[in-house]
């Protein structure tokens, strides 16, 4: 059993409930015990740091102090939450730490959920419960930006060409395809105000995914998932194409590989149905 603190963040409470379900179920199945932080608060997100650097740091800092008190490493599924907490960590361990109300000693490690899953010990746990290789799935891995960049905040080693999801999915038996747009922008919250920008950016992703021969896109960020999943029809129409890419969370793939039946339910929450793909490659449960 691997014990770890867990910060779900707000979107996992709302729009990305399906992600949350898959995370919590899969973790439980592979022997990761998630201890949700007690009384956690908003990470600050974009809103806080565009108004006040200090407030932004303080918001995340409070969460870190709670986590440090709990005494376990902290995993964060949301890429932005992760990025904000890492930013706070850097400040709280840096020369200006005295300007903040919260003390953080750095005794725990802050993990991006994907990175956490890529540890050998977790892979070993998955291997023990492995049911079937994900043969026929040809995903491109879409890491998005915040989990890796900037490396001075995230401590990522391969921020231009991350490979940990590629390795994890290959390990699950998927026929992972390398592509150049792993960390390109999905447009993030611009989708609200300037959907045209997002559509252009996402179109570029779909176009490349199709050219390299992928049949699905796997993500570790719910924002990326939403932008790629929700508007696929619209983008197809706009660019006169016929895209079909199920946008899957990597946790869902872990679930499939260990034969978790609930995967079916999670997949129904996506806009683009994964069913045709999953059936065509014979991976339905």
């Amino acid at each position: 059993m691997i014990d770890v603190s867990y910060y779900p963040g707000c979107s996992l409470e709302g729009t990305a409930k399906d992600y949350r379900e898959s995370i919590e179920t899969v973790c439980e199945r592979v022997g990761i015990k998630l201890h949700e932080l007690e009384d956690w608060n908003c990470c600050g997100a974009t809103a806080a740091h565009s108004l006040s650097h200090k407030a932004a740091i303080n918001l995340s800092a409070r969460n870190l102090t709670i986590a440090e008190k709990a005494g376990m490493d902290l995993v964060i599924p949301c890429a932005l939450c992760f990025n904000r907490m890492k930013a706070a960590e850097k400040v709280l361990l840096g020369p200006y730490r005295r300007e903040y109300a919260y003390r953080f000693e750095g005794s725990i490690k802050i993990w991006d959920l994907l990175d956490f899953f890529c540890q050998d010990r977790v892979k070993a746990e998955i291997a023990r419960r492995f049911k079937r290789p994900l043969k026929g799935l040809k995903p491109v891995c879409y890491y998005g930006c915040m989990a890796n960049r900037p490396p001075t905040i995230t401590d990522a080693r391969n921020w231009e060409n991350p490979t940990n999801m590629d390795e994890l999915l290959s390990f699950l038996g998927a026929e992972v395809i390398d592509w150049p747009y792993k960390t390109d922008c999905c447009g993030a919250s611009h989708v609200v105000a300037r959907p045209d920008i997002v559509f252009n950016l996402v179109y570029k992703l779909f176009d490349m995914a199709e050219r390299v021969g992928a049949n699905c896109i796997v993500v570790s960020c719910q924002m990326c998932q939403a932008n790629l999943d929700m508007y696929q029809d619209e983008i197809s129409k706009k660019f006169n194409r016929d895209f079909y890419f199920p946008i899957l969370y990597f946790t869902e793939l872990v679930g499939m590989a260990i034969g978790e039946k609930q995967v079916n339910r999670w997949l129904t929450k996506h806009f683009v149905s994964a069913k045709p793909l999953i059936e065509s490659v014979g991976l339905n449960l």
Binding site: N158, E160, P180, G213
Partner: protein, 1497 residues
């Protein structure tokens, strides 16, 4: 070392130097030192010297071929008797101090003996292992035995080994698994089989039943699955076994001593095999009707057909081994009677034959048959009736064999009961798998407690108990513990226990104690583990009888081991000596390879299988075998297949070579370890390592090279398509703070320019684009080169830092994304992208530096003392090349000489102390003798002899007139061959020698030395190149190649008859130097020479020494006080007793030649005559006086030097300045002066920083074209930007405009970055004015007839490799007279000149003549043709009214001789008669009439 004794005797320093690193820097330094009277140890980690320069295709800015330049240098280094090249070596530590260091060097094995290898290259034809060719940057492959390139020095090959490959190391018998797999991959099945049989006489058997520990160790298993090594062995073994003529090893000479072997199992058979090979008469005593032991009576046919065993035994018998079957030792004969029969040694290998009992109730019931007994019965053809249901007890291979045999004898249901779990089962996994396939049931964690019989005493059932696993026991497996109350019964008809075997020692019954070997408590025989000897003299034991039941391969290992012991025992040698040591096992890195599953051995269908005892595993097809062998990763590098050993006729290969440690005593040390290129993978956005067609510049260099992987054909590595659009991305790993590489690598702009030009030369429709930040063309001739590339060669330059490269999936083209100069994001497609990777110190050099005890900066570059860039932080240790700072080849070469000068200074008084001088015997006069020609034809291994019929050529040579002796030699260049030639010369009284072998370019000096040592004049030698010109180019047509070889030999003999002895004559060298120019460069050169002990004249035209530096330079970029340095230098020079300074003086003439010049110096109207051996010209340069930007009209406009002075002297007005503007490239990089002045960018940046320091509120704006702060000077630029200094780029077409306005200046400039006009106000305008040659250069050039370049700077002999020499022998240049330089660079340049000068001054006498042109005065018509024709300006019209050619300066090129209309000039050693006879020799079939047969000379 012997030199330790003569080293520091009398307190003198040691006269030798260690040079660490054999790149161009190390080579140049070594040559300078060796030519100046010091012994040099040139240590390199690689297998050959030459460094990165050897990998380059062409060099900038002359586009000269790099190989063509470096090859002669390599030969020069190799043939210098005072340079000892030590390759594959590293310095371990340095003790002692300047003048007397003791350096410990670790020399790694080359596995090829340098004294024997002749470089013939036969070995690479047979080596089965392909490895990435490091010299070609891994773009293609090379063999495990290799040399980097044909011209490599040392020219001998080397083998790469990481240690013994894990598979071989894991085999108990040490079978060369990696080797035979590699050979199988090449289809060399016989060779593979022979290699197997070196260690294992039973490969077909092993290929079926071995548990293959090799595969468990196989590195491939860590990638996917291990290579099927064992099956591959079976493949070659079966092939041979069923061949018409199976392989039989050679049997050595018969010996007398008889050996008896008790037991004909695998151990006994193996021992017999190896002993028979040694020539011993061997008899095997076997108690059963057939030999083979367990192989025949234990393992069932479906796994190991009897036929295989019998055939392999048959082969052993063919070696002369006698097998006496049905003879039971202990019954029919005894150990005693064997001894009495005069068997000198006895090997006991009786194995384990008894089944171990279970020790439970009911074991004696009918239907309980021990597994081994059951198998024995089955194997002799019985089919015992077991009933329907059978329980087999145990989990080993015997249990599996028993269970599967039971199925085959008719049992319906067979179950295996095993007391532990599947994971602990000792049987081979394949056995278990096959048993499961056949329907055997497995019950784990079950142990029998009782066998229950029926009323007839027959087995009825078995009672078992369930087990659980407890803690690990001594075998490392978890111990099974019975679970109480879990007993249950199974109904069975038979129980076959197979829980183990034990020895049967009945043969020892009744034997006397003196012959009875000691036994262990397990009832096995005790032996010495190394020798396998028992405590009884002459009796050995091995195999299962010693170890208990084990595997076939263990038995074979024992047999092999004991054979060695018995052989040694019988010879009376020490049996144990040297047998423990094992080579280290390779610890390979797991490479990144495509996963590929292991080939599956085809098996008989399970349903078919159980019907009979037919073999289950059907064997590999050839195709499957090769494919499987290709999965081998060659993880140990060399496969130790010994093919190279077999083909090497020079017997040069030694796989047993080990590491050596040398202790060398040296006086000083030069550190020139070179660099590596930046790892482009770290710049992931450019996709190197991810996209096939993104390559590094060094890879592209190899692609361009004719000797590279594509022989110079420009193709994409991905698909070999010819690229059209190629992009170069600059600054990859340079000027990049995010990667902690924020310095500039100084060479990339120019090499990219060169590559673009050369690529276009290779394929004119290539469209090159170079993406850059600033073009840094600050070296001599670079700016012109860049301009030419841009304006004439069609190279497109885009000023932009590329943000990313993305591959187009369909075409593998590359999309390059960048922001253009208009600020627009552009995506442009290219076929190929070349990353201009920066230079960095190697990772390991930092460690070296620590071992040597010198400090390096955060990047790994050496730290030096002020004003002395070649120094390090340790006395007596000097640095040169890129390790000091990134630099190009000419600078590296100049600096190498500088470091050599400093190294010499430390040990100058020991000059000549250790030099090796060849002793020559007195020369035998041959004039007047009848020509007696000796001809030696070389085989060059089979390089020549494989094509040319050397015997026929030899016989032919004997028929030629004047030839008194001819023979052919295996390698005429080997040491024993040259010794032999010397003997023949003496015996046969030869006076002409002809060698027909390879190139005279490489081998003439060797044979000439051979002649001299035999007392013959070296010019009586002639060579015919029958390798390059016959066997290599005509390998298809042996006959014609032989005929051509005869022609060439005939020509050589024809010429040889007319060869004449030539004599070089000596003259005394005036060991004094003249230095012209008393600036820092001139003073430095003079001081270094004087310190080295050479008296030096220093001539300065002004009244004071110090030059420009004294007048104009106050602080250096790193903030050092230049004035006090200059003053100190002046003082040292003036007070040195070996320097005579002339001020206000001028040299007005010169005469003489190198080594002996005379000049008049005019001082105050008085003439003084001086004599000197060499001259150094150091006349410097001055600052351009601008005519533009209101300079001279407005006192607010200053030059950079004037401003520098104001900053230094603390001019009060500095503090009041509000706005300062600087304009770069004033007078540089324009039409009049199309060169870069190199120092101005740094000067502007540094002065700005200084200004900011004095006056932090000042605004500084620098108007520039490209900022050229190269090397670590880039850091000042970075600092300046951080300090808020503004940089505005202008184009030369839109130069800034300056106006005076009120109490200031107004500067208007079009800012290229924002594409807008900017108006600046300034209190001061500082002009970075060009550096222009000193006006006196012209006069000096005239006096000494020296060349200037187009810009009025002095011209060196060769831009790349002779940057300090003039073309005129004996003249050297240094300092700013050569071109713009920083102060510290000028100092280094001056030291370099001193080093070059010392190579001549160190000689007491010089030799001239020999191969030079001579004038027949009587024929000379004084037409002056020669004077005009000579490229070196040597001939002149002398006082006797005829041309004079000074032999001291004649280069022997022959131009004058060929041009002279009166035939008054002839070039010695290439005289008309020699050439004509040679040509006639070609045209005539016989030499009769051409060569005066037996004529006197």
């Amino acid at each position: 070392m012997s030199n330790q004794e003569n080293g520091t005797k009398n307190g003198k320093p040691v006269g030798s130097v260690m040079v660490m690193g054999g790149g161009i820097a190390g080579m140049q330094a070594s040559l300078d030192l060796a030519n100046s009277g010091f012994l040099v140890y040139l240590v390199d980690k690689n297998i050959s010297i030459g460094g990165v320069m050897a990998q380059l295709d062409k060099t900038f800015p002359t586009n000269d071929c790099s190989t063509c330049m470096i090859s002669p240098k390599l030969i020069e280094v190799a043939s210098n008797p005072n340079i000892e090249i030590i390759t594959r070596a590293e310095v371990e530590r340095v003790e002692g101090e300047a003048g007397n260091f003791v350096v410990t060097v670790k020399k790694y094995p080359r596995f090829v003996r340098e004294d024997r290898c002749t470089g013939c290259g036969e070995c690479i034809n047979v080596c089965p292992v392909d490895l990435p060719a490091d010299f070609n940057q891994g773009l293609n492959t090379r063999k495990a035995i290799y040399r980097h390139f044909p011209q490599a020095i040392p020219s001998t090959f080397a083998i790469d080994k990481l240690g013994t490959s894990p598979c071989k190391a894991a085999c108990p018998a040490g079978v060369h698994a990696h080797g035979y797999v590699a050979l199988i991959r090449q289809g060399k099945y016989k060779e593979a089989l022979k290699l197997v049989k070196k260690d294992n006489p039973l490969p077909s058997i092993c290929g079926r039943v071995c548990p293959h520990p090799c595969e468990n160790a196989c590195t491939r298993g860590e990638v996917d699955e291990p290579v099927a090594i064992d099956f591959l062995k079976r493949f070659v073994a079966d092939l041979d076994l069923y061949d018409e003529e199976p392989y039989l090893p050679e049997v050595k000479e018969k010996k007398e001593d008889k050996v008896a072997i008790v037991g004909g199992g695998p151990a006994g058979l193996t021992a017999a095999y190896f002993l028979a090979m040694e020539g011993y008469p061997v008899t095997i005593y076997e108690s059963m009707p057939e030999a083979g032991g367990w192989l025949i009576y234990g393992i069932p046919d479906y796994r190991l057909p009897k036929e295989i065993v019998r055939k392999e035994i048959e082969l052993i018998e063919k070696l002369g081994v006698e097998i006496k079957t049905n003879v039971c030792v202990g019954k029919d004969v005894t150990l005693k009677s064997l001894k009495d029969q005069d068997y000198k040694a006895i090997f006991i290998a009786t194995g384990t034959t008894k089944s171990r009992a279970m020790g439970i109730e009911g074991e004696d019931l009918q239907g309980v048959i021990p597994g081994a007994d059951f198998l024995r019965r089955v194997n002799v053809g019985e089919r015992p009736d077991l009933g329907e249901t059978v329980a087999v007890i145990g989990g080993g291979n015997v249990a599996m064999d028993t269970a599967r045999s039971a199925l085959r004898t008719g049992a319906k249901k067979v179950m295996v009961l095993y007391r532990r779990a599947l994971e602990q089962m000792p049987a081979n996994p394949e056995e278990i798998e096959e048993a499961q396939e056949e329907g055997v049931e497995f019950h784990y964690l079950v142990a029998p407690v009782k066998i229950i019989g029926d009323e007839n005493g027959r087995v009825k059932a078995i009672r078992c108990i369930r087990m659980e696993l407890g803690k690990a026991d001594e075998s490392g497996r978890r111990r099974p513990i019975p679970i109480e109350g879990s007993e249950f019964e199974i109904e069975v008809d038979a129980v076959l226990p197979a829980i183990g075997l034990s020895t049967d020692l009945s043969f020892l019954n009744g034997i006397t104690d003196d012959l009875k070997p000691k036994l262990s408590r397990w009832q096995t025989i005790e032996i010495d583990p190394i020798t396998l000897a028992t405590n009884v003299e002459g009796i050995f034991a091995g195999g299962d009888v010693v170890t208990g039941a084990a595997t076939v391969i263990d038995a074979i290992a024992a047999g092999k081991k004991v054979a060695v012991s018995i052989d040694r025992y019988l010879r009376g040698e020490d049996m144990a000596a040297g047998r423990k040591a094992q080579q280290p096992v390779a610890q390979p890195k797991i490479p990144c390879v495509q996963k590929a599953p292991r080939a599956r051995m085809p098996r008989l269908d399970p349903e078919e299988r159980v019907k009979s005892f037919s073999e289950v595993q059907l064997g590999f097809s050839e195709e499957e075998a090769i494919k499987e062998a290709e999965r081998c990763l060659n993880c140990g590098l060399c496969s130790e297949c010994y093919q190279c050993v077999e083909v090497c006729q020079a017997e040069a290969i030694d796989h047993e070579m080990t590491e050596e440690t040398l202790e060398l005593n040296v006086g000083s040390i030069l550190f020139s370890p070179g660099f590596e290129t930046f790892d482009a993978k770290l710049k992931a956005e450019y996709g190197y390592g991810r996209y096939d067609n993104v390559i590094t510049s060094l890879e592209f260099e190899r692609i361009l090279s004719a000797s590279g992987p594509t022989t110079g054909h420009v193709v994409r590595p991905g698909d070999h398509k010819e690229p059209k659009k190629i992009a170069w991305i600059q600054c990859v790993g340079s000027r990049d703070a995010s990667l902690k590489r924020d310095y500039c690598s100084a060479v990339c702009c120019m090499y990219a320019t060169k590559q673009a030009i050369i690529a276009k030369e290779h394929a004119p429709d290539i469209e090159p684009t170079i993406f850059f930040i600033d073009i840094r063309a600050m070296g001599k001739g670079f700016e012109r080169y860049y301009e030419r590339a841009k304006n004439q060669r069609g190279v497109r330059y885009v000023r932009s830092l590329v943000s990313r490269v993305v591959e187009v999936p369909e075409t593998k083209d590359l999309m390059v994304q960048y922001v253009d100069e208009e600020g627009q994001i552009q995506t442009e497609e290219f076929d190929m992208v070349v990353l201009s990777v920066g230079l960095k110190p190697r990772k390991e050099t930092e460690e070296y530096a620590e071992r040597i005890g010198i400090e390096v900066d955060s990047y790994g570059f050496t730290k030096s003392k002020p004003f002395d860039i070649v120094s390090t932080t340790r006395e007596g240790v000097f640095a040169c090349g890129v390790i000091q700072n990134p630099k190009d080849i000419p600078e590296t070469v100049a600096q190498a000489s500088a470091a050599s000068a400093e190294a010499q200074r430390v040990i100058a008084e020991s000059r000549g102390q250790l030099v090796r001088v060849l002793e020559k015997p007195p020369e035998r006069p041959v004039t007047g003798e009848i020509p007696r020609v000796g001809v030696f034809i070389c085989h060059c291994g089979i390089n020549i002899a494989g094509v040319v019929d050397v015997e026929a050529v030899t016989e032919y040579a004997k028929t030629l007139p004047n030839v008194v002796f001819a023979e052919h030699l295996l390698f005429s260049c080997s040491t024993d061959a040259t010794e032999h030639i010397k003997e023949v010369i003496k015996e046969q009284k030869l006076n002409r020698v002809v060698v027909a072998s390879c190139s005279l370019r490489t081998h003439e000096p060797l044979f000439q030395t051979c002649l001299e040592e035999a007392g013959l004049n070296k010019y009586l030698f002639e060579m015919a190149n029958i390798r390059d010109q016959c066997s290599w180019v005509h390998s298809e047509d042996k006959e014609k190649a032989t005929e051509k070889a005869k022609d060439l030999v005939r020509m050589a003999v024809a010429r040889s008859v007319f060869l004449e002895p030539l004599y070089e004559f000596s003259f005394q060298v005036a060991q004094q130097a003249l230095v012209i120019g008393g600036g820092v460069a001139g003073m430095t050169a003079a001081l270094n020479l004087a310190d080295q002990g050479f008296f030096t004249y220093l001539v300065e035209k002004e009244s004071e020494l110090g030059g420009q530096a004294r007048k104009n330079i106050f602080f250096t970029p790193d903030g050092l006080d230049a004035q006090s340095y200059v003053n100190e230098l002046v003082e040292k020079v003036q007070n040195h007793d070996k320097i005579k300074v002339f001020t206000k003086a001028q040299v007005i003439d010169y005469s003489g030649h190198v080594g002996n010049f005379t000049s008049n110096v005019l001082v105050d109207g008085e003439k003084e005559s001086i004599q000197y051996g060499i001259a150094i010209i150091a006349t410097g340069a001055v600052e351009y006086q601008p005519k533009e930007y209101l300079y001279g009209e407005n006192n607010r406009v200053l030059t950079q030097l004037q401003f520098h002075k104001a900053l230094a002297t603390g001019d009060d007005s500095i503090k009041d300045l509000k706005d300062v503007v600087m304009i770069q490239c004033v007078g540089s990089r324009d039409e009049e002066r199309p060169y870069c002045s190199r120092v101005c960018c740094t000067a502007a940046v540094v002065n700005s920083l200084k200004l900011k320091e004095l006056n932090p509120d000042v605004n500084v704006t620098i108007l520039y074209r490209d900022i050229r702060t190269f090397g670590t000077k880039e850091l000042y630029y970075k600092k300046a930007r951080e300090a808020g200094i503004r940089f505005i780029r202008y184009e030369p077409e839109q130069k800034p405009e300056v106006k005076a306005s009120g109490n200031g200046l107004e500067i208007s400039v079009f800012d290229q970055s924002i594409k807008r006009n900017v108006l600046l106000r300034a209190d001061r305008l500082v002009l970075s004015a060009a550096i222009v040659p000193s006006p006196t250069n012209k006069d000096i050039a005239q006096v000494f007839k020296l060349n200037e370049d187009a810009d009025g700077f002095f011209m060196e002999a060769h831009v790349k490799l002779r940057p300090i020499d003039f073309a005129n022998a004996g003249f050297f240049l240094c300092g700013l007279g050569h071109g713009p330089k920083f102060l510290d660079e000028a100092i280094a340049h001056a030291k370099g000149a001193a080093s070059r000068a010392a190579t001549l001054l160190s000689k007491k006498e010089m030799f001239v003549g020999g191969r030079v042109a001579v004038v027949d005065r009587k024929k000379c018509a004084v037409c002056c043709t020669c004077v005009r024709a000579c490229p070196y300006g040597v001939p002149y019209i002398g006082p006797h009214g005829a041309a004079v050619i000074e032999p001291a300066i004649c280069r022997g090129c022959g131009v004058c001789a060929s041009e002279c209309p009166g035939k008054a000039i002839s070039l010695q050693h290439t005289t008309d008669v020699q050439v004509i006879t040679k040509v006639e020799g070609l045209l005539e079939e016989s030499l009769e009439g051409i060569v005066p047969s037996q004529a006197s000379n």
